[in-house]
């Protein structure tokens, strides 16, 4: 299949759009394979002959080729946090682009719209539901009513603290330590007053809101599929987050003077 060669201008636009899409995916928790495939599908659907993609932990680099012409560009990527809406919306967009429904100008305004969509859930809904989710974990672990109540309170407060600290640009690991500490203090108070049958279950359940599930799952998936550098980096990030949880929790336990295990 031969496509008509694109002008320098068109090539520039397409490389920009493809990079933007890749950046949004990588920033919000997609695995390497999804990033590579989406960029490739995007660029070729918009008229390039070929796209080469390099996905590394902090940078995406791509080269677009069309006829005799080629262009290369890199873009820095930071990790913002998991956002499934973003991944889902980009997926839909890429399917429409592949079907030839949109030209590059429409694509640009669509990406802008997706990028500017505010969070789907109100922050207080998030606080309440995350509290409830950790409470649910305490039930799965075999806790009773009082343990459930302590867990819900501890993790809701912790989630609020996490939102506030994140909003003020504290270092992500520091946020994790502080959040685990807050959850730990509330849950350890429950242990101190012996609320419920096995109050230490509240300690284990109330820090689960911090569990680095996405980095660890993505890490394993990237490693399995041969994206070793990204996989290792994500594994280390997951390990550090776990360590930060332990630090915050153990500070809380020593402060309240609770010895469990």
């Amino acid at each position: 299949m031969s496509k008509s060669p694109l002008s320098r201008e068109e090539l520039r636009d397409i490389i920009d759009l493809s990079l933007w899409v890749g950046q949004l995916l990588l920033q919000h928790g997609a695995d390497a394979e999804r990033v590579e495939e989406t960029i490739h599908r995007f660029g070729t659907a918009l008229g390039c002959d070929w796209i080469d993609v390099l996905v590394s932990p902090n940078v995406i680099a791509i080269t677009t080729t069309s006829g005799e012409e080629f262009r290369t560009k890199i873009r820095r990527v930071i990790n913002i946090g998991v956002n499934m809406f973003m991944i889902s919306a980009i997926n839909r967009l890429s399917r429409r682009v592949a079907a030839g429904e949109l030209d590059r100008f429409q694509v640009r305004s669509e990406i802008e719209r997706i990028n500017n969509t505010p969070p789907l859930y109100n922050r207080w809904v998030v606080v309440g539901m995350v509290g409830l989710a950790c409470g649910a974990f305490s039930q799965l672990f075999g806790g009773d009513g009082p343990v459930f109540a302590v867990t819900v309170v501890a993790s809701s407060i912790a989630m609020f603290v996490r939102q506030e600290l994140t909003r003020h640009f504290f270092n992500p690991l520091l946020v994790v330590i502080a959040t685990a500490f807050v959850a730990g203090v509330v849950a350890a108070t429950g242990v101190h007053f012996e609320l419920g049958e096995q109050p230490e279950l509240a300690l284990a359940a109330s820090v689960l809101l911090l569990v680095p599930g996405v980095p660890l799952i993505n890490s394993a998936e990237d490693l399995i599929k041969g994206h070793s550098v990204l996989g290792l980096t994500r594994g280390i990030v997951g390990g550090l987050i776990t360590l930060a949880i332990a630090l915050g929790l153990s500070l809380a336990l020593r402060l309240i003077g609770v010895d469990t295990l």
């Binding site: 998991v82 499934m84 539901m129 153990s250």
Partner: protein, 159 residues
């Protein structure tokens, strides 16, 4: 246990797994229309794991089975709701995280900094066992939810 006890245990398990998955789904900002799918996938997967551990299967094998079921449920939902499977599988798989064992590993590890070396042996053994259980459970989760793409939806790499 008789049949009623089993039924109560399973329904309770499925219910709380669904609540936990819905909470994490909201934290991960999933599209509204996919929330129910996340909860259902978690209920199915977690209930399977509980059932298997109750009849004596190893925790890690049971986790692998539960996660694999979540993986395939996610693919089915992805077709139905026209959205990537990871939207469902990640929120649901979080419910399989071995929270208590991971907690014991973390605190045991930090406890090692304070203990008299002569008395460290039992604690060291505890930490090693718990760490192994945590690591292999996490590995099972990841392999399980990747199972559909590893086994069925193979394709020639396009990039």
């Amino acid at each position: 246990m008789n049949a009623t006890d089993w039924a109560i245990l399973m329904v309770r398990d499925a219910f709380w797994a669904a609540v936990a998955a819905a909470g994490f789904a909201i934290l991960f900002n999933v599209p509204h229309r996919t929330l129910a799918g996340c909860a259902i996938a978690a209920a199915v997967g977690h209930m399977t794991r509980t059932l298997l551990t109750q009849v004596g299967v190893d925790a890690q094998i049971a986790t692998l089975a539960g996660a694999t079921l979540i993986g395939f449920t996610g693919v089915a939902f992805a077709r139905r709701w026209r959205t990537p499977a990871m939207v469902f599988t990640i929120s649901a798989a979080i419910t399989l995280v071995p929270g208590v064992v991971a907690y014991k590993t973390m605190l045991g590890l930090l406890e090692l900094t304070r203990i008299d070396p002569a008395q460290a042996a039992p604690l060291l053994a505890d930490v090693a066992v718990n760490a192994a259980r945590t690591a292999f459970s996490l590995g099972s989760i990841a392999v399980g939810i990747a199972a559909p793409s590893l086994l069925l939806y193979r394709q020639k790499p396009i990039v």
